[in-house]
């Protein structure tokens, strides 16, 4: 029987959880020993307490932020892959449009968000657009590189067999691009969440589209630091969950053939 420490699930799950428990214990003890007031720096138990107490508000806020994240991520994937396909079809098109894609990427979302919020009336739409501005670029650049990264030998083989444009695309370019596309997806999913939160901060909307960022702002006005931490915790957990989902998707699509997703073999 393999020792506990050497089993894969232990290294993957139990080890990071142990680190978290250790850090939480240190945090809890430091706060208790030095009697830090909870409006300065709350103990983990205070955060948990606030989370339970405000769970209705916080979960609605989470839902709102998740909605914007999902819209922005979906829009980025749709737009990003479309643009990448267009780029690959014509070099001229890529050369003429790529600088503007870069422009999107280098403009800080905080700088253009106020403009978008003014121009777009519907809050959810405005927030979605802001988050999309950040999340779009990794998909475009990665997918474009992927669609171009075709093994030249295989490409020659396809040409020799008189493969049509569609056959080339379906059977050669798309599978070749998949690992790159997945890398873009991983980056973009995180950025969509970041974009959603940042946009909420700037838009500062309350009412029915009050997301987690709004909760953080509210809590900070009221010096309700435990609630701030609780909202922060939810954002962090959402990010981790998104990342995990992308890893699962990658495993599903690439697990059987691509080096990036292969499990270590003995």
């Amino acid at each position: 029987m393999t020792p506990l420490v050497e089993r894969p699930w232990f290294a993957r799950v139990a080890a990071p959880v142990c680190v978290a428990l250790l850090l939480l214990a240190v945090w809890q003890n430091l706060c208790t020993v030095y009697e830090v007031p909870k409006y300065l720096f709350p103990k983990p138990t205070d955060v948990l307490e606030s989370l339970i107490e405000n769970h209705v508000t916080l979960l609605w806020a989470l839902l709102s932020t998740l909605k914007v994240t999902a819209y922005a991520f979906g829009l980025s994937v749709l737009l990003g892959t479309t643009v990448a396909f267009l780029f690959v079809q014509s070099k001229l098109l890529e050369l003429s449009l790529f600088p503007y894609a870069v422009l999107f990427q280098v403009t800080p979302v905080a700088a253009i968000a106020p403009l978008i919020v003014i121009l777009v009336k519907d809050t959810t739409t405005a927030l979605t657009l802001c988050a999309t501005v950040i999340a779009l670029f990794p998909i475009i650049s990665n997918t474009t590189i992927g669609l171009r990264s075709v093994d030249p030998g295989l490409a020659a083989y396809f040409e020799m067999n008189k493969a049509g444009r569609w056959q080339m695309l379906w059977r050669l370019r798309i599978p070749s691009a998949l690992p790159f596309f997945m890398a873009g997806l991983r980056i973009s999913s995180g950025l969509a969440l970041v974009g959603a939160v940042v946009a909420e901060f700037i838009a500062g909307t309350g009412g029915n589209s009050a997301g987690l960022a709004y909760q953080i702002m509210q809590a900070s006005f009221q010096l309700d630091i435990p609630q701030m931490f609780a909202a922060l915790l939810l954002i962090a957990l959402t990010g981790v969950a998104l990342f995990g989902a992308m890893i699962q998707l990658q495993q599903f699509l690439l697990g059987h053939w691509h080096e990036s997703a292969l499990k270590a073999e003995r």
Partner: protein, 271 residues
């Protein structure tokens, strides 16, 4: 109207490939190949051998019509290309690299040329299974290329070439990257396959032993400019097996070819 020359009629009578003083001058002005006259008859196994830069691969690509001759003519089966049909169907190419799709299982890789040609899925599956059986890879059909050894990948590549039931097989140093044991074994399998199917084969190699073992005729080439230096008949009946390698006759043939190649190298000095 005849769209294709009837292969069964053609088989015994008509040369597979004829190069009529075909040459190749590359776009940058260098001469890749001086005019070549070469006739390849059905069932022949012709090896192209020579020092590097002698235009072996260029000649092979000319035969496959992957590049056009700058001058002279290429004729397949005494007909025009249109009559002969699409080149992907009646001839198959095997590269030094197996060029398999890493994301597709072995079986799907073998099926690829059929699917590109629009063959129905069920029929393609059947023919792929048959081709895999022929190279002894039935067991590996559901595995991915990365799970196979170099020799097995090359076998998959050969199965993919055989699945279209070509009449002419063109191979560009297919076993060059393999170890000697694997190479010898694949050579033995290949010669069996070609004999059994009456395949015509044009085979580029660097190895004197491989050329002698496989060929019915060896075309020795020289460089500067790339040209046919000599042709060499190997009058050893088919099928051949591993014991041919141990025979005194094999050694003698290798010595003769080796001498011929030295002459070709001497004639390849730039002028």
């Amino acid at each position: 109207m005849l769209d294709r020359v009837n292969p069964s009629f053609v088989a015994e009578t008509v040369p597979v490939v004829e190069l009529l003083s075909a040459d190749k001058v590359f776009a940058n002005g260098t001469r890749g190949l001086a005019p070549v006259d070469l006739t390849i008859r059905p069932g022949e196994f012709v090896s192209l051998i020579g020092p590097s830069g002698c235009g072996k691969s260029t000649l092979l690509k000319l035969i496959a019509n992957l590049i056009e001759p700058s001058d002279g003519r290429l004729v397949w089966w005494r007909g025009s290309f249109r009559q002969v049909g699409s080149p992907g169907r009646r001839l198959a190419f095997v590269f030094q690299d197996p060029t398999l799709m890493p994301w597709a299982k072995v079986e799907a890789n073998v099926r690829l040329p059929l699917e590109l040609a629009g063959v129905k899925r069920a029929e393609a599956r059947e023919r792929a299974a048959e081709a895999l059986a022929r190279v002894g890879l039935t067991e590996a059909a559901t595995r991915y290329p990365r799970q196979l050894s170099g020799g097995m990948r090359m076998r998959v590549s050969i199965a993919r070439a055989l699945v279209t039931q070509p009449d002419l097989l063109l191979m560009d140093e297919p076993f060059g990257a393999l170890d000697e044991f694997t190479r010898n074994r694949l050579d033995e399998e290949l010669i069996g396959l070609c004999h059994e199917r009456g395949l015509t084969n044009v085979f580029v190699t660097h190895s004197i032993w491989e050329a002698v073992f496989l060929s019915s005729r060896i075309v020795v080439m020289a460089a500067n400019p790339g040209r046919v230096f000599a042709e060499y008949q190997v009058n050893e009946p088919l099928p051949r097996d591993a014991s041919f390698r141990d025979s005194a006759r094999f050694s003698a043939l290798c010595r003769e070819l080796s001498a011929l190649l030295s002459d070709a190298s001497l004639a390849s000095v730039p002028r």
